[in-house]
Subunit: 364 residues, 2 copies
């Protein structure tokens, strides 16, 4: 048993603070990882505040984890002590359903769906058929902690050439945008729209450009226009009706990274016939969608959830190969509550990453 | 100039009544058609009542037209006097835009989009870029009339073996369901859901079955359960939560034929991962869609608009080949207002077709 220090929230109304938990030693197929860096995802905030009404407390977020292997279980073959590794949003899945067998664990249809890195099974006991919890855990504790223990199959290799701190956001923000860009076959000659320029959005821009597409960013914040252009994209203000009118029926694919309820109709209007807007930021009821806008040019609105373990490895390798890295700001764990406020107000440029060495100040 | 008798509404609040109009003689590339039968589409009612806020009065509906060629223009090569022919929702398109060149005139991106069989251009002068009307007509008059004159390219051949009255609904209801079934590649081994069992829905069932799929109908009306089974489908009541729960994540494709605002979330829940619900009945803002439902299994909600001229000919030929015919009730034009009430209350089983020989009673 490891006594592990981390940061957690005890209630939906409380701020994050130091929290000590116990983690089991690595079983035969598991890897013990000393956490070096952990990205701050907008989901962490939704979850801490119980905005999806499913939070289990204490809530210790963190699913963009980069660390170094401390110890491996006896049957682990792909990792050894000292390896630089990553852990993303999932740490287990049923392994038996059709999506799992097809290598799409993020769509696991097992009784409890996949096991999230924090907050436990995606389908908790109460909602599961037969009221079971095949993972035996109602809660899980994420990467805002000094150590995490994860099944080998859900551990990623951080390729040489990626900065460990910059690799962290690729494990959620990266794969969440990479997966739909690949599923909808974004490539050279295509014009892609990215709605929102935050943690997910700025990675969507970098990845779509690296895949050979032309990119236009849609933002509500004037100060982000320049940032988008610096990234190599075009940029328009969402309130600029003339600009949006000029883009009508022209985009081959669009990705909305807005992390809350929003109106997708103006973006659907910009899609080319037979094209898709994929919403990855919001997992809630959106504003009413006008089916006229979709029907007039056979357009689709889709959702997509993170990405598979295979795709997570792919996006890490792709970023190493293409020299892509997220724009991050390193923070101490003690500054996490201020960071949350800045993420919510859209001030982050573009991803906070916690330097977990700051945890030592707590221990001393 | 032909003096032609028909039925039209003069205002959004008025009932349909006899109306005399003038139609130009066929130009070189046009065909004059004596109307024999005309289907009654739910769109006719929306349009007459100005429910889409774009109706031009007087409004003479009818876009499921079967008739006999009276005379052809000098350059017409595909038709001659006496041929049994059909006219669907479109009578012209720009012919120059990418969709038109790709044979998808229903998505015409010309300045006025396509020219509807009744009510004029899809994009009227007021809304067109530059305020133009390339068709020179603000209003058009549909098939609730004795004669119609149409460009050769927009006239369909009614294949031998199709009953002329039964062929009529294929020209809108048929192609509107056939087009998405083909676009989303419905075929053997697939399980298709059809929401709503009216004019469109019952044809969707027949077509999907003929394409080799298994079909489940979703209906709010208990009396339609048996009708669905008679057609060869399974059927569930939408309020039957247990039945819907049993279908969760199982359908390969769904088609919603409900002709008004509705909640698609319960149907999206029934879609299999990576599958699509296509909404063809409603062209208005729908109830808010929960993106969680879409994201959890990468599902899409799409719209689709009627079908191309080529697809309209295909569905006619496919129905002749497969011996498919809509279930129709023949009415006289004098009964059109009562028929509208029954369509709105869901009493029609399943499509009213006007026997246009009844118009003669008006003329005498």
């Amino acid at each position: 048993m490891h006594k592990v220090l981390g940061y957690a929230a005890k209630h939906s109304f409380s701020r994050l603070g130091p929290f000590e938990l116990e983690r089991d030693e690595a079983r035969a197929n598991e890897v013990e990882i000393d956490v070096l860096f952990c990205g701050v995802c907008h989901s962490d905030i939704h979850q801490v505040k119980n905005e999806w009404a499913n939070t289990v407390y204490p809530c210790m977020p963190g699913h963009e984890i980069v660390g170094r292997v401390r110890r491996v279980g006896a049957e682990v073959t792909r990792f050894r002590e000292g390896d630089l590794v990553g852990v993303g949003c999932m740490i287990d899945s049923c392994g038996k359903c059709e999506p799992c067998l097809a290598g799409e664990e993020q769509y696991c249809e097992g009784p409890n769906s996949w096991l999230a890195t924090y907050n436990g099974p995606m389908v908790p006991k109460l909602l599961a058929p037969g009221g079971e919890n095949t993972y035996g855990r109602d809660n899980t504790f994420g990467g805002y902690s000094g150590l995490i223990v994860v099944r080998e199959e859900f551990v990623l290799k951080i390729p040489a050439g990626l900065d460990p701190a910059q690799a962290a956001p690729l494990l959620c923000a990266g794969v969440t945008t990479y997966s739909p860009l690949r599923y909808w076959k974004v490539g050279p000659g295509m014009h892609v729209g990215v709605v929102g320029l935050g943690g997910l959005g700025h990675l969507a821009v970098k990845l779509a450009l690296a895949l050979g597409a032309q990119v236009t960013v849609f933002t509500t914040q004037e100060e982000k226009l320049e940032a988008a252009v610096k990234l190599g994209a075009h940029a328009v203000l969402e309130k600029d009706k003339t600009a949006l009118g000029g883009l009508k029926n022209s985009l081959d694919f669009m990705l909305s990274t807005v992390p809350e309820k929003h109106d997708v109709n103006p973006f659907v209007a910009c899609l080319k016939r037979n094209s898709t807007l994929c919403v990855v930021g919001a997992i809630e009821p959106l504003s009413p969608e006008n089916n006229m806008e979709r029907a007039l040019h056979r357009k689709s609105v889709a959702g997509s959830l993170i990405g598979s373990i295979a795709e997570t490895q792919q996006v890490l390798d792709f970023c190493a190969l293409k020299n892509i890295s997220p724009d991050i700001q390193l923070i101490k764990i003690q500054d996490i509550n201020v960071a949350y406020e800045r993420v919510e107000s859209g001030e982050a440029h573009f991803r906070y990453v916690i330097d977990m060495s700051s945890l030592k100040a707590e221990a001393s």
